[in-house]
Amino acid sequence: MKRVKYSIYILAAIVLAGTACKKSFLEIDPQQNTDVAQTVTDVPSTRAAVNGIYALLQSANSYGRTASLIPDLMSDNLQISVINANRYQPQDQYAMAANDGMATNLWNNLYQVVANANLVIEKGEPLEVPVADTAEKRKLVGQAYALRAFGYFSLVRFFAQPYNFSAGATHLGVPITLKTATDKSGVVALGRNSVKENYDQIIKDLDSAVSKLNTDTAATSTSSKTRFNYFGGLALLSRVYLYKEDYAKAIDAANKVIDRKKYTLLPGATLVADFRKQSNAETIFEVAFTATDNNSTDALGYFYAQGGYGDAIATDTMYKIYTAADARRGFITRSRRTGTGGENPANIVNKYNNITTYEENLKVLRLAEVYLNRAEAYAYSNQDNLARADLNVITTRGDAAATVPGTLAGDDLKAAILVERRKEFAFEGHRLFDLTRRKQTFTKTRRGTITFIVNAPENKTILPIPQREMDANPAIKGQQNPGYGN
């Protein structure tokens, strides 16, 4: 009997052991993620949050591939090969629907960039940090402004008609939000702002960025280019003003970059090899990809390289636009498309082609663009001499013999600058916007070398507001881009 009693004690002990763990038993914190409250509270957490915005740009849905690829694919520069893995077919054929996956992903990604920049700006501006950290904090917040501007500028380019589409740019741009919540109570639904409002916001943000990054003028042609600095803000500003056709300000911004001589053009002789180098002397801002942090088979280079997908090939007109002596022709190789039944010869793009280590930063802003931005701004503000000089810097870098004739003026000069932009920025995500903002009708070559005419303006040169957005955002109802249903 004693034993039985003893057993009861033991059983009671078990019950107690089982119930010992109380309330804290249910309080478990995440170890994989960070609670929002612990972000942007000091410089290291702000730095990580700003890095996070850049990391968003790395996505293949954004500046890791799509944002660079489709402006060339939807223009006269690229086509999809007959051998392909079905990516970007709707863009190649101008057959996008409102639920287009690439458009949806791009839209979502760019708004993630905007929202994360909002969070850094909102929490970072009033953040008190030790004196030793103030300079870095200012720089980080400045970068967030530049990234938000870059996000909005990308959105308005892809999803709205160019600035000059309507008088006063009153046509539909993209919704602007400058505050991002982290709790469900702060969710917003907003309709589209006008393109003018978009540009005003972009310029305001870039001004803030430039003023905060103005301590960052120590940048040199050899320093890392993977983050926005003072010059990055200005270079982007020169492009934004050019698109806005505010030529004086475009020239002003370009001057501030060129005059400080922090960047140098790569020599023509070694252009092809040097262009591919990480943070080369000419680049002002590029999206970083390292051996351990890259898009792998979703990398842009993988989409061009014949050892990868190799699905995008240059059109014949693209190849033929270069003189034989033009260094930039080296970015295209005439050879066989890999795979049975491929085009032969095909114009293989090798501007981006590292598919072994994928250490290939994607160029966003570089000095040559600033020259051509300024050349164009000069040409449209009747300063042909200055325009010719800037143009000449770029043409002769590509082909020493291609000096711009002194007689080139007026519309011919403007046309020559547009052609030069095509040559210089081929496969870097500029062409479609240069065509549309200059209201150019062009011939698009699609898979199977079938051609069709794209008029100016044309509904489908801009992407649809994603169906998902139309469904989830009541305020945007009725604001779909024409040609994509309602």
Binding site: P90, A97, Y111, N118
Partner: protein
């Protein structure tokens, strides 16, 4: 935890017992025909110990002098209580009763007489589970349990079947039931991602019974995890008596189920289509041969990809078990091997299991039990869905003119981005290993008359390892000098349960029982994964790689703490009342909603025991049941209520994070309120038995991702919004059509069940429209696709409707209108099993039927490209197009004309209702022919039983929709995703026990 185990060990040392004066009873247990029943259990009432009968049905049991009643039971017979008289010789005759109300069923936290159930619980007997040539026990639910939708969708052995009990209970949280093995709620699912279902780690031969708890009264005691129903799995334990051995062996073959209409086109057939498309696109026929040549097509090659990528797989299963014991200690010990080589190349699966179960009666009051199940699963699997390396995708999509081998014998890598599927299967691998251990120790102590204390500690551990390797030079590895990854995940799930049970009788007519308990459970997942590239030749472990690619590890946990209570009362065993209550606290929910209460009430009325029924001879039983209650579903992510930045990213070598989740501190469980009314009946002395159930379960506070504008930086947040209703009727009938009077005579029985299913979304904050249209009034899986209007007979162009009235059409896809197209959920489904036996032979066959659902092929636009893919290596067109395409003006068909590189149809984005199919099918799921050696032979061989059989699965399938190129069995979500179809399996086997 450790403390508890240690204490339990100490307790095992107490083996003292009290001895009174004893006597020994002996006798023979027989059936009505007088044939001995071997293995029948003979126990003393109110006592755990007992014995079982030998092969001749005889038993011998030592009982105290004052013992009153013996309880005798055997599988397939009604349990019988026998009064012990003066005689020490006691022969007992049992009556056959395999479906009746007298069964004891395993229920939440205990067992119960089926007669006293007020809720809906269905038991699947061991005969339907054991010896099935299927890796996972859940696969055997199909067609056997009313109210349970069990579908596989993939023929890969070890894959996780979809189980839905009474419809789809949730949208974003899980809709899968809770699995409880011997009282331990376990981690279920595929922890490696390579087809190693954790539940498959348990051999179905070690399972004594499975009970499916479907309604509030049955399941609510599991509180916040009961909403999707509960599957209680009880494993075998030993029975007192002579040690009994059983052995079984099976061997068989697997073949892929493909109908003639599923077979891919040959080279001449494909070229015929493209030639026609060439002309249709306005080109000159004479130029076609030049194009064929330019596209590098060798028309003399005609590769049979189906033949190359599938095979006659094989299947083997061996099991051995021993069980027995004394009236103090019993044991069950088993081991099993299951081996399946899939019908698709590159896939195989092996499982080894072992189980030990012990019980010990230390004293009259104190008893212990312990059990340990070990499982080891190993699988080699190929990629699925859209992956280039998916062999199923390859045989549907690769052109017949492509070669497997170059003329020199090397693999041809000139197409499909160097993904040669045969080479991939041979040279690359995706391997998984999964180890599982489920152990528990428990003790019962009888404190006072009717008052019992039970305690139990359980540990459910699963360890998964995966290894992947891509050889250099082709396929996924073509840009690496070899690429490998290795990952590990440890799932540690422990639980302690303490229960106090009380049972009493007031006067003659009032029976009362109650249970209170406390339970705590914690699940921790530790995982890590590494990848590297540039391997030394002929190596594949990461130590041999030169370049690291990625490395990560993670830890995540969740916990539940609960109190629970259960009461039952009956009056004269005529009127039954039950009530349950549970309070759960969960770490997963928001700070402000951490605890919840769950309850149920149930009642039943045994009408046959009323005196006014006494004269109704044809009606042998009639029982009415009703229950209602509230339970929950907490199966969402561990940290879904928190605002989070996710740090799985890097930028330029520095750590980075970004917003990934909005916070919601009021997030809590989904509330499920099931109402159930059931009727159990039996006719003609229970020759025909069955039950009829009607249920309606209303789910509210559904955890949903509320879609929000992307301008918020995310596309949604999780909230308790929305409500859904599932309702249906379940009918199950068992009939012994012909009963033979002698064991060798002819007998025939039929089991039938039918389940209807209706789902309706009753509240949502905003509709969500993708492939499915989720809005109020529609069902959860309502397809929402561009409305295909067929083909314009005049010119062969595809048309899509532009208005909801379906009057206007367009030939421009992007102008087509999206419309509701029907549901992926079936209207009704069920099974029909017939068993006939004579002279030791038994033939049984089971039909499974499924009607009224739609299935959708997201890859349809690739297989039905109408020539738009041209000569593309993966542009093969399906047979349905070949046989039904529009050819000339006036042709009325639903397949547009073939146009070479045409742009009108066939783009990857052009998903429409054209690729939506009727999912109705009837399948001959199981046929078994077995032969039991006659007793005269077995006894001469000193065997208790010997049985030989052949069994075939999925022999024949009738499919309604002739357009469908795939097998119609799809996951609950209704999507065809280039998965391996279920296999046709034929096995032969032998079972012996002695």
């Amino acid at each position: 935890m450790r403390k508890i185990l240690a204490l339990a060990m100490v307790m095992l040392l107490f083996t003292g017992s009290l001895l009174a004066q004893n006597k020994t009873l002996s006798g023979k247990v027989t059936d009505q025909a007088g044939a001995p029943i071997p293995g029948a259990s003979v126990v003393l009432k109110g006592n755990n110990g007992g014995t079982s009968t030998g092969s001749d049905g005889s038993y011998s049991i030592t009982v105290p002098e004052n013992a009153r009643t013996l309880i005798v039971s055997a599988v397939g017979f009604a349990q019988q209580e026998v009064t012990i008289g003066k005689n020490i010789q006691l022969d007992i005759q049992l009556t056959k009763n395999d479906q009746g109300l007298a069964e004891v069923v395993v229920v939440a936290y205990g067992t119960q007489n089926k007669r006293s159930l007020t809720g809906a619980a269905t038991t699947i007997s061991t005969e339907k589970l054991a010896r099935a040539p299927r890796a996972s026990i859940q696969e055997s639910f199909q067609g056997n349990v009313a109210g349970v939708q069990a579908v596989n969708g993939s023929g890969q052995p070890g894959s996780v079947p979809n189980i839905r009990i009474r419809g789809v209970g949730s949208i974003n949280a899980s809709s899968a039931p809770l699995y409880v093995i011997d009282g331990v709620p376990v981690v279920s699912g595929d922890i490696t991602g390579y087809n190693t279902n954790t539940i498959a780690g348990l051999s179905s031969n070690d399972v004594e019974s499975v009970t499916v708890l479907k309604d509030a009264a049955a399941a609510s005691l599991y509180g916040s995890r009961a909403a999707n129903g509960v599957v209680l799995i009880t494993t075998k334990t030993g029975k007192a008596g002579r040690t009994k051995f059983s052995a079984s062996a099976q061997y068989g073959i697997n073949k892929i189920t493909l109908r003639d209409s599923d077979l891919p086109l040959s080279t001449p057939e494909m070229l015929e289509l493209l030639r026609e498309g060439w002309v249709n696109s306005g080109k000159n026929l004479a130029d076609f041969p030049a194009e064929v040549k330019a596209r590098g097509v060798d028309s003399t090659v005609n590769t049979d990809w189906v033949d190359a990528l599938t095979r006659n797989g094989n299947f083997q299963q061996y099991d051995l078990s021993a069980s027995g014991g004394t009236d103090k200690t019993t044991f069950y010990l088993s081991g099993g091997i299951y081996k399946s080589e899939a019908a698709v190349i590159g896939s195989d699966y092996t499982r080894t299991t072992a189980k030990l179960s012990l019980t010990n009666k230390a004293t009259d009051r104190l008893s212990f039990n312990g059990s340990l199940s070990l499982g080891y699963q190993q699988s080699n699997t190929s990629s699925d869905a859209g992956a280039f390396a998916n062999p199923i995708r390859s045989f549907y999509r690769l052109q017949p003119w492509l070669r497997i081998y170059n003329p020199d014998g090397s693999f041809d890598n000139s197409y499909n981005n160097t993904f040669n599927p045969v080479q991939l299967a041979e040279k690359n691998f995706r391997k998984a290993k999964s180890y599982s251990a489920l152990g528990s120790v428990g003790a019962q102590y009888k404190i006072y008359q009717g008052l019992t204390f039970e305690t139990k500690a359980g540990l459910d551990m699963n360890y998964g390892m995966t290894n992947l390797f891509w050889s250099p030079g082709f396929g996924d590895g073509r840009n690496y000098g070899g690429y490998g990854s290795a990952s590990n995940a440890l799932y540690l799930n422990w639980i302690t349960t303490n229960l106090l049970k009380y049972k009493t009788t007031f006067g003659e007519d009032h029976e009362f029982d109650a249970l209170v308990g406390y339970e705590a459970q914690k699940t921790t997942v530790n995982s890590s994964s590494n990848a590297a590239s540039n391997f030394l030749p002929n190596t594949n472990t990461l130590a041999n790689a030169a370049k690291p690619e990625s490395s990560s590890s993670s830890i995540t946990e969740n916990s539940i703490a609960s109190v629970l209570a259960n009461v039952g009362y009956n009056y004269k065993r005529k009127y039954y009342l039950t009530g349950t209550f549970r309070r759960d606290g969960s770490s997963r929910f928001g700070f402000n909603k951490r605890y919840g209460n769950f309850w149920s009430v149930g009642a039943s009325w045994d009408i046959t025991s009323e005196s006014f029924m006494a004269n109704l001879k044809t009606l042998s039983q009639l029982k009415l049941r009703a229950s209602y209650g509230l339970n929950g579903n907490q199966e969402i992510g561990n940290f879904d209520s928190r605002g989070l930045y996710s740090g799985n990213t890097v930028y330029d070598g520095s750590p980075a994070y970004a917003l990934t989740q909005y916070s919601n501190d009021k997030l809590t469980w989904e509330v499920n309120k099931p109402l159930n009314i059931g009727l159990d009946f039996g006719f003609l002395n229970d020759r025909i038995t069955g039950s009829l159930e009607w249920y309606e379960r209303k789910t509210t506070a559904l955890l949903l991702t509320v879609p929000i504008s992307s301008i918020n930086g995310l596309t949604g947040y999780t909230d308790n919004v929305g409500a859904m209703k599932n309702s249906g009727i379940e009918i199950s009938i068992s009939s012994r059509n012909i009963v033979s009077s002698s064991p060798d005579g002819f007998s025939w029985s039929t089991d039938f069940n039918l389940t209807t299913l209706k789902n309706k979304i009753t509240a949502l904050n905003s509709p969500s429209r993708g492939t499915f249209n989720r809005e109020v009034g529609l069902d959860f899986y309502q397809y929402y696709l561009i409305d295909y209007a067929g083909v314009n007979a005049a010119n062969g162009e595809a048309m899509w409707y532009t208005d909801s009235a379906r009057t206007k059409t367009t030939n421009v896809f992007s102008q087509g209108l999206r419309a509701n197209q029907g549901s992926a959920l079936p209207d009704f489904f069920g099974g029909l099993t017939n068993t006939v036996s004579m002279k030791g032979f038994t033939l049984s066959f089971q039909l499974y039927y499924n009607f009224g659902n739609k299935i959708y092929d997201g890859w349809g636009s690739f297989l039905n490209s109408d020539g738009s893919s041209g000569f593309s290596a993966t542009g093969k067109i399906n047979r349905y197009t070949y046989e039904n395409r529009w050819k000339k003006a006036g042709d009325v068909t639903d397949v547009p004309r073939v146009t070479y590189l045409g742009s009108q149809t066939g783009l990857s984005s052009q998903n429409s209702s054209r690729f939506l199919y009727d999912g109705d099918y009837v399948r001959l799921r199981d046929v078994t022919l077995s032969y039991n050696l006659p007793r005269s032979v077995t006894s001469r061989l000193k065997l208790a039983n010997a049985r030989f059989y052949v069994r075939a699965n999925n022999l024949f399938t009738w499919v309604k929709d002739k357009r469908l190129s795939y097998d119609p069995e799809v996951p609950v979500t209704g999507d065809l995703d280039q998965r391996p179809p279920v296999f046709r399996t034929i096995v032969g086997g032998i079972d012996i026990s002695f």
